[in-house]
Amino acid sequence: MRWSRAVAVLTVAVVGSGVVPVAAGAQGSGGKDALEASDVGITATEIRIGVLADVDNPFQPGLFEGSPNAIKAWAKWMNKNGGLANRKVVVDFIDTKLNADETRNAIITACSQDFAILGTSSLFVNNTDDLVGCEDATGAATGLPDFPVVTTEPLHQCSPVSHPINPPTLDCATQDAHPQTYRTGTAATNYLLKRFGDLHGTFIYPSDLLAAKNSQVPLFIAQQEAGIEADVEADVSARAPQSIYTPIIQQMKDAGSNYARSGLGSDSTLALRKEAKIQGLTGVDVWECSVQCYNTDFVEQGGSDIEDQFVYLGFVPFEEAKTNKMMSAFIKSTGRDQADGFGAQAWASAIYFRDIVENIVEADGPNGVTRAAVLAGADEINEFTAEGMIAPTDVGDRVATRCFALLQVKSSKFVRVHPKKKGTFDCKSADVVTLELDLIG
């Protein structure tokens, strides 16, 4: 008993010395009531945030390291600017180790110590019982507010307590139906068709993981429905050697294809482009890839082989950080060498959470911040942009963005192509295709 009291006193002394200025400053500016421990993970001085990510594993150590790096940087940035809900933000990073069991353990741990989890980047969230059934301070199964970046399982994508910052194409209301409904934007496709006229070519699916392929199927079918004709559709493993692309390239030559869409990672896309170059394939107007190709390694390793590659994004390119204060804060806080696409989205998820909390503080005061209030508030934000950092997204209703910014590789640099104005997205030509597909067994 004496020990516990001594530890408690010591804790107050240590924590107080570092935290009181933040808390006191914040109270002075906005709070009227004495701050309370309003829920699990919130004390009078601290708000604990968890970040779950697959980092340490034998095959790819450091896999989603960008997400915890971004959330830790965000916490520092928040604390420097007065904290959140008049409290200091403290981050607990819990490694999910690319392992379903450790992922569930991480959720259990986060439920018991953290107020919410931000930037979740774990591939194996295939059980959400502990996420949805997580108890709050009153013992009610309110759920653990979750604002993830990576969601592969429909169960996670559509969990009532999860609000992916880049929502899935799946209409969650139909997740148990056969077939399911998928809604996907075709704005980028419409732009390309308008610019290049008739497009026909190749669609390459990733074949290693059915869930990964299924995530690409609605996108590719929507593109085809929008008007891009498929000459070749191929399934390719991420582990395939470059020579596996030779027949694909030859088929493109035979068909006179002028379009190629890769659903593979940047390494495989690079292999496709290299093979196309050595096989002398010309006449392709559009080599298209998504955010997975937006990394410095891709342009550094690809050199002239990937010239003119189109990449479309749902966030402001890092090269344009100066045009957007939030992106600038992310890059500055995280460090340019640590910043990546996952990190940018994790930061945006943290901003989403911040906005919800600030709305609650404004309405109910800093002691009104509870998990239940956050979950209620999370459903209400429908045009979220993280202060212009990301394309307008209906995170509250889990609807994927219809907007995009199109970049192209020019002399080993990503150059904005459309819309012309830096820091903006094309939402005008937005179109949505609704598909009925049975992709969930």
């Binding site: 034998p58 095959f59 150590p61 379903a100 559709e233 582990r239 050697p241 096989q279």
Partner: protein, 715 residues
């Protein structure tokens, strides 16, 4: 006697025919389902040919290294791909990072670094394996593979992209309409020349003949003036150099070096080595070409979609499976010990006491641990149940299976499918989610799959059976688990276990102690572990157990004595699948979900690896292995960060630990439990057990043919 042997030989041929027919029908069905119907022209024929030969050459080089090592050392090196991967990174380090000229970097890697690694592996690991059982040899090389993967991931941050470039850049020439770069021509030429060169070396030089002689009979070779130690070391140096070459050739075809890709390509190359019957390098070259051409031409003729979306990835393993079924086995068994030591049996009374202690300890831990630790311990116990499935199969009957993960997956799926959550089965709603009967269903549904796996086992044995089971697991991953009726690319939610309508995972209070959520599941899992363990111990003491051990020691003698080998093999595979399916149902309930990713072939390797580390023939070895498997991730969380330079020692241990544990078995092939037991009890312990067993009413144990090695053995 001759008639009996003839009959025993003929029966497996029927099994082979049936299995072959089934495989051919399946392949035919797959082709019919995925037929694209594209025509082929002279030009397209040429480019598919060029591509196929290029890919085939990489497989041929990789497989040639396997064959050279196997022919000259008698050890099938599962780590061949990992050595190649490691050397590709070394080549990058020299060529790109240190800026050394390409040819010099290549020579330093292939002629210096790789042979050095081969020498170290031979001296430290393989020399101790001379005369060890096949399972010990497999486990050490699998352990080496896992350790090299962990070490490479620690040295070279996989998040950084590294490319080694190509020989002569993108220069080359056209063959018809297809451009053939010089670097691919080099790969093709190297594959051909290496096959020819090594064939000449092994068959037409004194050194080559001595190398093969050492494998066939080490002592006799020594009597004829050969130096087995030196020749064996040379063989491993040669094998490593081949692995390095394969790694570099493959790395040229990749945009960036990838630990996983470089390591696992060799798994696909196994088929080429088997087509070469693990001894013929020209046929291995042909095998590589068969794989390469299949992968190339299927792109023209087949379109993979719908339920067969992932099936293209199974092509090399289907070829492996067919090759194993139809090609005659090579007879390189010189250094493999076929007679395993037999653990002394334990009385049922002592076994019961042991299992009661396990349940008691788990109950105490359930009351003390936090929930995440309770869940980890639960998984350790459930994993132990799955490992028990290998005790009769591999420990007693010497039938090596790397496919247990498939039965586990089937058990987990059945738990969902045959509950009301999975809908009706033939118009009938079967069990409520969480019903304990679903555990039995998991076991029963896994049995037909076990029997299916047993058909190849009627013909195959040893290494060939291990490879067939591995191919089976990999095929299941792509063509069974990804079916929409099974997991279909999404996780299935599995309800927690209920007994008498009460959720055993729910928190409870007992004798004033608060048990956290999932604590009850741990206790139930421990009781089920005890129950399964008791059944297995009882079986070992009965006629069935004796038959399995006898079949292991001498199949020919068993057949002579009238033992039906076919039904015995079918029975033990069915039993093993049932236990694994039972464990799978339990693991599904413990996890609360199941999906294809949980049951990939690679995830099943630690079952055999850590069971062997614990003790392959012992139920207690399974418990040891299950706890050890969980401890690696556990320790990383529990221990504080210890850094030496930039290396996090604890984290690195978590990555390389399972591999090192497997490697350690080279020093202690009987397993840790036996060693601990001997260390604690010594000879006295052995005598004490003998006395205890002698006291048992009913005459004690059946006599075993080989000496006892485990004083507390049996459990």
């Amino acid at each position: 006697m001759t008639a009996v042997m003839e009959q025993a030989r003929r029966r497996p041929n029927r099994g082979r025919l049936m299995a072959g027919l089934a495989a051919a029908l399946f392949v035919g069905f797959l082709v019919q389902e995925s037929w694209a119907g594209r025509s082929i022209t002279g030009d397209s024929l040429l480019f598919f040919l060029v591509v196929g030969v290029t890919i085939g050459s990489i497989y041929a080089v990789a497989a040639s290294g396997l064959v050279v090592t196997y022919t000259t050392s008698g050890v099938f090196n599962f780590a061949q791909g990992a050595i190649g991967m490691f050397m590709a990174f070394v080549y990058w380090e020299l060529k790109i990072n240190a800026g050394i000229q390409t040819f010099v970097a290549l020579c330093l890697t292939v002629l210096v670094a790789a042979p050095l690694m081969g020498l170290v592996i031979e001296r430290l690991l393989m020399r101790r394996l001379a005369g060890a059982s096949l399972v010990a040899q497999l486990v050490v090389t699998i352990g080496l593979m896992l350790a090299l993967i962990g070490i490479a991931g620690t040295i070279w941050d996989p998040n950084e992209t590294r490319a080694i470039g190509t020989f002569f850049g993108s220069d080359g020439f056209f063959v018809g309409q297809t451009f053939l770069p010089y670097y691919r021509l080099i790969t093709i030429a190297a594959a051909f020349l290496l096959a020819l060169g090594f064939w000449l070396l092994l068959n037409h030089t004194r050194l080559g003949i001595a190398m093969r002689a050492v494998v066939d009979n080490r002592e006799l070779a020594a009597l004829n003036g050969a130096s087995p130690a030196r020749i064996s070391a040379f063989a491993w140096m040669l094998g490593s150099a081949m692995a390095a070459l394969a790694g570099i050739f493959l790395a040229e075809e990749l945009s960036g070096l990838s630990i996983e890709t470089l390591t696992l390509l060799i798994v696909d190359a196994f088929a080429a080595a088997i087509i070469g019957r693990l001894r013929s390098l020209p046929m291995t070259f042909v095998g590589g070409m068969i794989i390469g051409l299949s992968l190339s031409f299927q792109q023209n003729f087949l379109t993979w979609s719908g339920r067969w979306s992932s099936a293209s990835l199974a092509i090399p393993t289907i070829i492996l499976f067919l090759a194993l079924l139809f090609l005659p086995q090579a007879r390189i068994e010189g250094r493999v010990s076929t007679a395993m030591k037999t653990a002394r049996l334990i009385s049922m009374k002592r076994a019961l006491f042991g299992f009661a202690c396990v349940v008691l300890v788990m109950a105490v831990l359930a009351g003390v641990f936090e929930r995440p630790d309770v869940r980890r311990m639960t998984l350790a116990v459930v994993t132990a149940i799955i490992m028990i499935s290998l005790v009769p199969l591999t420990g007693w009957a010497n039938q090596i299976s790397l496919a247990q993960i498939t039965f586990v997956g089937i058990g987990a799926w059945a738990t969902f499918e045959f509950s009301t959550a999975g809908g009706e089965v033939f118009g009938v709603q079967l069990f409520d989610p969480g019903s304990p009967f679903l555990l039995i269903v998991g076991a029963v549904v896994a049995v037909p799959f076990g029997v299916l796996m047993a058909f190849p086992a009627l013909r195959l044995q040893g290494l060939y059976l291990a490879l067939a089971s591995m191919a089976f697991a990999r095929m299941a991953q792509f063509v069974i688990f990804d079916q929409p009726e099974v997991f279909g690319g999404a996780g299935k939610r599995i309800a927690p276990l209920e007994v008498f309508g009460k959720d055993v995972s729910a928190p409870f209070t007992f004798l004033g102690v608060d048990f956290t959520q999932d604590a009850g599941f741990l206790i139930v899992a421990a009781i089920l572990f005890g129950a399964v363990g008791m059944v297995v111990v009882w079986m070992r003491r009965g006629a069935f157990g004796r038959r399995l051990v006898a079949m292991r020691d001498s199949p020919a003698a068993c057949a002579t004595l009238g033992v039906n080998l076919r039904s015995t093999k079918l029975a033990v595979f069915a039993l093993s699948a049932a236990i694994a399916g039972f464990g799978g149902a339990l693991v599904g309930m413990a996890r609360g979900s199941a999906s294809t990713q949980n049951f990939e072939m690679l995830q099943g390797l630690p079952y055999l690896l850590l069971l062997v580390v614990g003790g392959i023939a012992l139920v207690s070895g399974a418990l040891f292995g299950g706890i050890l498997l969980q401890s690696f991730t556990w320790l990383v969380d529990v221990l504080p960060t210890i850094k030496i330079g930039s290396v996090n020692v604890v984290q690195t241990w978590g990555r390389v630990g399972p591999g090192l544990a497997g490697i350690g078995i080279g020093r202690n092939p009987e397993g840790a439990v036996t060693e601990i037991s001997l260390a604690v009890h010594g000879e006295e312990g052995e005598n004490a057990v003998d006395a205890a067993e002698g006291d048992e009413p009913g005459g004690g144990d059946p006599p075993d043919q080989t000496p006892a090695i485990a004083p507390t053995g049996g459990v």
